[in-house]
Amino acid sequence: MEYTPEVVRRFDSPRRAGELRAGLPGLVSGEAEDRTLQVWVHFQLQVIDGVVRAARFAAFGCPHTIAAASRAAEWLEGRPASDVARLDVRAIASELGLPVEKLGLLLRIEDAVAACGRALHKYVGKD
């Protein structure tokens, strides 16, 4: 398997990896997996005043998954909550130079972030 320098850089030092402290205000999470593809991704977003103040990811998967999840978390941070549903994994794939055969993995990232969006919707609804 070949990896672009950007994938390798993000894989070696994945930004936004880790967990936000439980109990933080405005914290929502979502995850998705595909056992066949050997991928699991989990995102946490802290949304305050309608803005994603912090985003973190956890991932079990290939280097492309880790690099793309890192880029997705970076993209989400600082955006209006209404943008969460607009995460475009294909744009991330293009930016990182991911091979076409890895797009299935990236859809799990999209699913996990979408799960965050749904959790956010419920959270705001409760508010």
């Binding site: 398997m1 990896y3 390798v8 894989f11 070696d12 994945p14 990896a17 967990e19 997996e33 056992r35 050997q38 699991w40 989990h42 956890a58 991932a59 079990f60 998967g61 290939c62 280097p63 880790i66």
Partner: protein, 384 residues
């Protein structure tokens, strides 16, 4: 990043300087065709025959039982197809699910031509039970092909017992011994093996040359046509320098080196075994000294390999390394796809040092911990 540590001797090995010197000398001086009758040809022929004698001596047989090929893959193909190709639908082959791809793919090609094939599974320790082989035999079984040392786990198969049951029934027994020479004793003359595939490049010899041992009385159909070289069994001009390289490599491949390799492998496992959850794959009591296969649950395989790109190690067989599928050997032993993918094969050799073992173990421990930390609450299937 520090210099690469090479721990992939089961894939291939560096050329021993003495082998390189012998080959270089041959290339510089002897260009004759070993089949030619003039002086240059006879000198080349003498080199080929001397190399054949070295190979034969190392595996305990007579030189006229050794036929040079382009490697073990060709030898495996010649053994299987040469034994069965003309028998068609009347023939039955028994092999195992954990054979090298060159045996499995040759078996599948034979299936397409009508040969029936039974694939005997290995147990959870990577062993093919002779009783299971016996149960797979049929009246029309013509060939049994079971490897000696498994290339992924290093497990030594019981070729003595399988050979005995083949001999009792008058069946031809083929053994792929690509991983054996210089690691475990191989005395073909005293064995019940009829066909045995050998290679040079796993024992610090050159790539592109191997041999097939053919016991007296065993008849094979040539699979290459176009000349009477190798007594009509393998057409094509014999590559003198390659044969010389294999001969020199086999002369140097003293099984006494096995003790040092086993010590290196055991030290590596002592260190890797301290990583929480690390699991050894393969029967610890029946292993070749140079191979160590370990699963690191919770560290995804492809990521582990990229993280450890300063180590030359394999996920399974190098011959299947481009395949995204999990190792057929490890899944055949009962490991899940996730665990099989989270496994690495380390293999030590002549030039491996203790310092390299120490450094490699440190690197593996650090990267397994880092990758696990990226997925601290991952579902159980990632680790089981």
């Amino acid at each position: 990043m520090s210099a690469e540590i090479y721990l992939d001797y089961a894939a291939t090995s560096p050329l021993d300087p003495a082998v390189a010197a012998a080959m270089s000398d041959c290339l510089a001086r002897e260009f004759g065709n070993p089949s030619s009758q003039h002086a240059a040809g006879k000198r080349a022929r003498a080199l080929v025959e001397a190399a054949r004698a070295e190979v034969a001596a190392r595996v305990g047989t007579a030189p006229d039982r050794i036929y040079f090929t382009s490697g073990a893959t060709e030898a495996n193909n010649l053994a299987l197809k040469g034994s069965l190709a003309r028998r068609g639908a009347r023939a039955h082959l028994v092999t195992s699910t954990i054979e090298h791809k060159s045996v499995l793919d040759a078996a599948r090609a034979l299936e397409e031509s009508g040969v029936a094939v039974t694939y005997v599974p290995a147990d959870s320790l990577g062993r093919v039970a002779p009783d299971d082989v016996a149960r797979a035999l049929r009246a029309e079984t013509a060939l049994v092909s079971i490897m000696h040392v498994n290339n992924e786990t290093g497990v030594i198969q019981d070729i003595e017992s399988i050979g005995a049951l083949c001999r009792e029934r008058g069946l031809t027994f083929h053994v792929d011994a690509a991983q054996s020479v210089g690691k475990v004793p191989l005395d073909l003359g005293a064995s019940k093996v009829d066909l045995c595939s050998l290679t040079a490049h796993k024992v610090c010899g050159p790539k592109g040359v191997g041999a097939l041992y053919v016991a007296a009385g065993v008849v094979l159909a040539p699979q290459m046509h176009g000349g009477e070289q190798e007594r009509g069994l393998r057409a094509g001009t014999v590559a003198t320098h390659q044969a010389v390289g294999m001969g020199k490599a086999y002369a140097l491949a003293d099984a006494r080196e096995a003790q040092r390799l086993a010590a290196l492998r055991d030290e590596l496992w002592r260190r890797l075994g301290a990583i929480p959850g690390a699991r050894l794959n393969g029967d610890p009591g029946r292993r070749a000294p140079h191979v160590l296969n370990v699963t690191f649950p919770g560290a995804e395989g492809e990521s582990l390999r990229l993280a450890l790109r300063d180590l030359a190690v394999s996920a399974g067989s190098a011959c299947a390394a481009d395949s995204p599928e999990a190792s057929h050997v490890l899944t055949g032993m009962g490991l899940s796809d996730a665990l099989a993918a989270s496994s690495l094969r380390f293999s030590v050799g002549r030039f491996t040092t203790e310092a390299e073992i120490e450094r490699a173990a440190e690197r593996v421990a650090a990267e397994v911990e880092r990758l696990r930390a990226l997925a601290p609450r991952s579902p159980e299937w990632c680790r089981t």
